[in-house]
């Protein structure tokens, strides 16, 4: 995708004369801009997040948004008198997204210029054009899946987790155990494929090759007798993170090859990064086959190489295309961490006759 043409992941809204007509500090009876709720709700449905940067009194502004019944749509609102560039910085840190996927909407040219001077790759829009948002190509994502329109809920659950983690003073193991995490490993089904396609686009760090797979590619592998497409889902006491990882295996009677392995960055701090790999190693041992993995180093995925190394994979071949082959002699089999309940829902009578 071209620079500056990335899909927008979050809109940061000003309030006075942007979301509503008038200035809240001067008069309490501000009115919503016509049709603004429809715009916000539709973008939310598409999986685009909303946040706020407004120079106002925090409590009064949030009270007003809740009166309009739209407060729930805004994640990590920044309402204070500091520079808006600083507000943007905090929002991207809290959401863990790149600034070039943010659209900042404000009626004042001064604010847009100030933000742009600190964050040159951000996109800005004069709020008088808010009615054009729904048709803008960068606000019409390639993927609208079940996972997209739950995205805001996931972030809200994440805010609760972060708050609890920050106030928790006991050992980390107990905190993780208290989350009651459940990690489900299953065969991919057709309704998972959009989300898996999206994962291959969005995941950079725990990603073994950086290869992008289309819906059609994935469907072919899912139906192939000599491949297996495994998907995993994570949930905890706050809710589900959705489908957060995949593994694509090539299977023959002598060896299995992990063609692709990836795990969403959203769950990296939850200690689940190695669970899927451990599962595959255990199964290969049971099936008495050789196990190897394809790896392509990128500038972001060293963590995946280390994960393979610490799961006893060793580099055995360097291909001319820059990929390497890692092999596992299955002499070391790790167990799952005690604080994660791992459910293996793989149909034993599946098409994989070689097993």
């Amino acid at each position: 995708m071209e620079e500056g043409m990335k899909e927008i992941k979050c809109i940061v809204w000003d309030l006075d004369n942007t979301i509503w007509e008038g200035t809240l500090a001067e008069a309490d009876d501000v009115k919503l801009k016509p049709g603004i709720i429809k715009v916000i709700e539709e973008l939310d449905r598409r999986g685009i997040l909303h946040s706020i940067s407004s120079k106002n009194n925090y409590d009064l502004a949030m009270k007003k948004l809740n009166e309009f019944d739209i407060g729930k749509y805004f994640l990590y609102p920044e309402v204070h008198w500091n520079a808006k560039s600083l507000a943007i910085q905090k929002i991207i840190e809290n959401l863990n997204i790149n600034v070039d996927t943010i659209l900042f909407i404000d009626d004042q040219e001064f604010e847009r210029e100030e933000v742009k001077s600190v964050h040159p790759t951000i996109s800005c829009l004069d709020s008088k054009y808010y009615q054009t948002l729904l048709t803008h190509p960068r606000l019409n994502p390639k993927f609208i899946t079940e996972d997209s329109y739950k995205r805001r809920i996931r972030y809200l659950e994440d805010m609760k987790r972060k708050k609890e983690e920050a106030t928790y003073e006991g050992p980390k193991e107990e905190f993780l155990a208290a989350l009651k995490m459940k990690f489900t490993i299953s065969e991919a089904k057709e309704q998972d494929l959009r989300r898996l396609e999206e994962l291959t686009y969005r995941t950079n760090q725990l990603n073994s090759t950086g290869n992008i797979y289309s819906y059609e590619d994935l469907k072919e592998y899912m139906e192939s007798d000599s491949h297996q497409l495994i998907v995993c889902e994570l949930s905890d006491k706050y809710g589900s993170y959705g489908k957060i990882g995949l593994a694509l295996l090539k299977k023959t009677s002598e060896y299995w090859e992990i063609m692709q392995l990836l795990m969403s960055c959203r769950v990296m701090s939850r200690g689940v990064g190695t669970v899927l790999l451990t599962y595959i190693i255990q199964q290969a041992k049971k099936s008495n086959v050789l196990l190897r993995a394809k790896f392509r180093p990128t500038d972001r995925n060293r963590i995946m190489y280390i994960t393979y190394g610490f799961s006893n994979f060793k580099e055995t071949k360097v291909n001319s295309d820059g990929t390497v082959v890692l092999s596992n002699d299955l002499s070391v089999i790790n167990s799952y961490p005690s604080y994660i309940d791992v459910q293996e829902v793989i149909n034993k009578e599946s098409k994989h006759l070689f097993i």
């Binding site: 050992p171 980390k172 193991e173 993780l176 725990l206 795990m263 990296m268 701090s269 200690g271 689940v272 990064g273 190695t274 060293r302 963590i303 995946m304 190489y305 280390i306 994960t307 190394g309 610490f310 006893n312 060793k314 580099e315 070391v332 790790n334 961490p337 005690s338 604080y339």
Partner: protein, 90 residues
């Protein structure tokens, strides 16, 4: 350059602060296998490697990323020692 004892002490305090232990009451012996004792997940693995590189000014190469180099306080200490010595020879 730090002595072996100093390296050992630095490595131990890093592990004790950052590892998620199954059984916390047990203190860590120099030969305890941390891969068996606690769960070494991706985040921990990355932070351990980064810590060793920054703190001891060595570069962990692909061929170094083997369990045997990182599986206990003693092994990590030896690994750091060896890396530093080979650097001096160069």
């Amino acid at each position: 350059m730090e002595s072996i004892q100093e390296i050992e002490k630095t490595v131990r305090s890093f592990l004790e602060e950052n590892m998620i232990f199954y059984e916390r009451e047990n203190s860590l012996d120099n030969d305890d296998n941390i891969f068996e004792l606690g769960f070494v997940d991706s985040m921990f693995a990355l932070s351990l490697v980064t810590f060793i590189e920054n703190n001891f000014e060595i570069k962990v190469e692909s061929e170094d990323l083997q369990i045997s180099n990182f599986s206990s306080i003693n092994n990590i200490t030896n690994f750091i020692q060896n890396k530093r010595q080979s650097r001096v020879i160069e």
